[in-house]
Symmetry: C2
Amino acid sequence: MIDNTQTETELERQAPKETERFDVAIIGAGPAGMSAALGAARANLNVLLIEKALPGGETSTACKISNYIGFPKGILGEDLGKRMEDQLNDYPTITHVCESVTDILNISDKEKIIKTSLDSEYKCQAIIFALGLEPKRLDTNFERQFLGRGVSYYARGDVEFHHEEDVMVIGGGNCACYAADYLSNFVNKVYMVHSKDHLRAVKSIKQSVETNPKIDIFWDSKVSEVFGIDRVEKAKVENTVNSQHTWLDVKGIFVYVGRIPPEDIISVEIDTDEDGFIITDEFMRTNIPGIYAAGDIRSKQVRQIATAVSDGMIASINVERDFFR
Amino acid sequence: MIDNTQTETELERQAPKETERFDVAIIGAGPAGMSAALGAARANLNVLLIEKALPGGETSTACKISNYIGFPKGILGEDLGKRMEDQLNDYPTITHVCESVTDILNISDKEKIIKTSLDSEYKCQAIIFALGLEPKRLDTNFERQFLGRGVSYYARGDVEFHHEEDVMVIGGGNCACYAADYLSNFVNKVYMVHSKDHLRAVKSIKQSVETNPKIDIFWDSKVSEVFGIDRVEKAKVENTVNSQHTWLDVKGIFVYVGRIPPEDIISVEIDTDEDGFIITDEFMRTNIPGIYAAGDIRSKQVRQIATAVSDGMIASINVERDFFR
C-alpha cells in the first residue's frame, strides 16, 4: 500500500536500485540489527537493513519490556521497536528493505551477493546476521490445524481476539510467564500448562504469575488433544505423572515453549553450536571473513534486548575496523 | 540538603541500617551499575547501589547520546541518567546510597564488608564493580591552578559559564569532538588543540566538527602556558612540529584527553590489564569469587552505554546464578 504522503526520499529509500552496492548488509531489524545499523551509519557506512517482517523483530511482539534500562515502568515492545526505527531515520545512509533473504552467493568472497524473495540482488562487503529467534513449535497436529484460528505464538498480537474469554498458555519459562501475566489483564482466565513441576523464570515475574488469581497452573502436564469445529473450542490437558486429564473450554492457545534459530539460516555454512546458534568471537566475527552475527542468534549466555543491542554495536564497529580503515 | 517533600519511604531507602546485609552491592550507578541493579532486583535480590556522585555516572555529564538505540534524535546524558534512576524506583529491593567506598574488607570471604567515607559498613555476598572511568588529567600546572576557574573536564556542566565567549577543547578523540560540537552551540568560538594531525572519532561526528565554522583546529599542538589573574584569560598553543606558538583569548579550557579507571579501585587485589582495566570472563566474573565487574572499567574493546548496560545485566544474572540458586 503506497502512502501518498511519503516524500520522494522515503520512497527512494524503500526501493534501492538492484545494482546498488552496500558496505554492510544487516539481516534482521530487531534490537541487534537496528543497533548495528545505527553503529554502522554513525561510521558513515552505506547500510542495507533487510527485514522480512516489521522492524523491531520479536521485540515488537513483546508484551512489556522492563529489562532494558532507560524506560521507567517498562515499555511496550511495539513502542520500543518504533522508537528504534525512528532513530534510524536520522541517518540517510541506511536503506531499509522489507524482503526475505533466500540465498547468499559468494559468501567467502570480498563481494557477497544477497538474493531475496523479491528477486533482488544486493552486493555488499560485510554481512551481519541479526535474525533473532523464532517461536519453537510443539510440532503437534493441533498447531497445524488451528494456527491462526485460536493457536498463536504471540500473546500481544492476538490477545484482542480473546477479551473476556478463557485462554491457555503452554510453557513455563520467562516468555510463557510474561504472556500469561499480560493476557490476564484482558481475558477471563488463563490456564498455564507446563511440562515440569516449577516455573523457570525471573523471580519477580514468577511470583507475579503464581499469585495472580486469574492464572491457574497445570503442572507436569501437556495438551494431548484440541477440539473445535472451525476454531479452538476445547483442549484436553493430561497430567503426565498420574495420567489424569481435564477438558478445558479455552478459545485461545498460546504456545511459549522456547525460541530457536530460524531454519533458513542453517543452509549457510557458518559454524554453529549444537543447538544451531551461530558461534562468534567477542568481536562478533563468525568463522567466515566478512560475516558477523549479533543478538539472540549468537551462541551466548544471556539473550535480552540489552545484550542484543550491545552485540549489534560491537559488530558494526568491527565491520568498520576490519574493512573500512 | 534534606528535601522536605520526600516521603518516609524515600528517606528510609536513603538511610539503610548499618547492620543491614545485602545480597549484592553494586559500586557505581552509571548505566552498567543501574542495569545490574535492575537485573538483580528483577531476580528479587536485595541490592545496595553505592554512588559517590549523581546517579547516571559519567552518562549524566554527556552532552548528547545518540548511540544507545531507543532514543530518536538522541537524548541528553542527564535525561537518560534520570530515566534510568526512575526505572530503578519501581523496585523496592534496591537501596541507593550516596557515599564513597573507602575499603573492602574480607574480600575473599563469603561475607564481604564495604566501608565508606561516611563510616558505614555494608555486608554483602557479591560485589559488582561498575565504577566507570574518570577524565584523564593532562597533569599540567595550569589544570591544578585553574580547575573550576576556567579549566573543566565536563563541557555540559560548565558551558553555562561561557556563553558567547571563546573556549578551547584539548583532545581529538570522540569525547573531545562531541564536546567541541556541543560547545559550539553556545559559545562564540571553539579552538580544538590536538596533539596529532587527525581526529580519532566516529566519522559522522568527525565530519561535523571539521565542517563546523565555529570550530578551528590546531593540529600537532599542545597548550604550553595559561595566563589569568583569577580565572583563565589566555592560553598559549604551541605547534610541536614547527615550534610556532599563538596566544588565544579563551576563557574556558575543556580537557578531553581520554578516560582512565579510577585510582582508588587499584588498591583492591583484582586482576587488571596493563592499563588498569579489570579483567573478567564473559560472565563478568573477576579472579576473586563473588567479585564481578561491568561497564567501562572492564578490559574490553567497545566502551559505550550499550555495552555497559549489557555488561551490567550479565553480571547481575551471574551473581544470581552463582550465589542464589
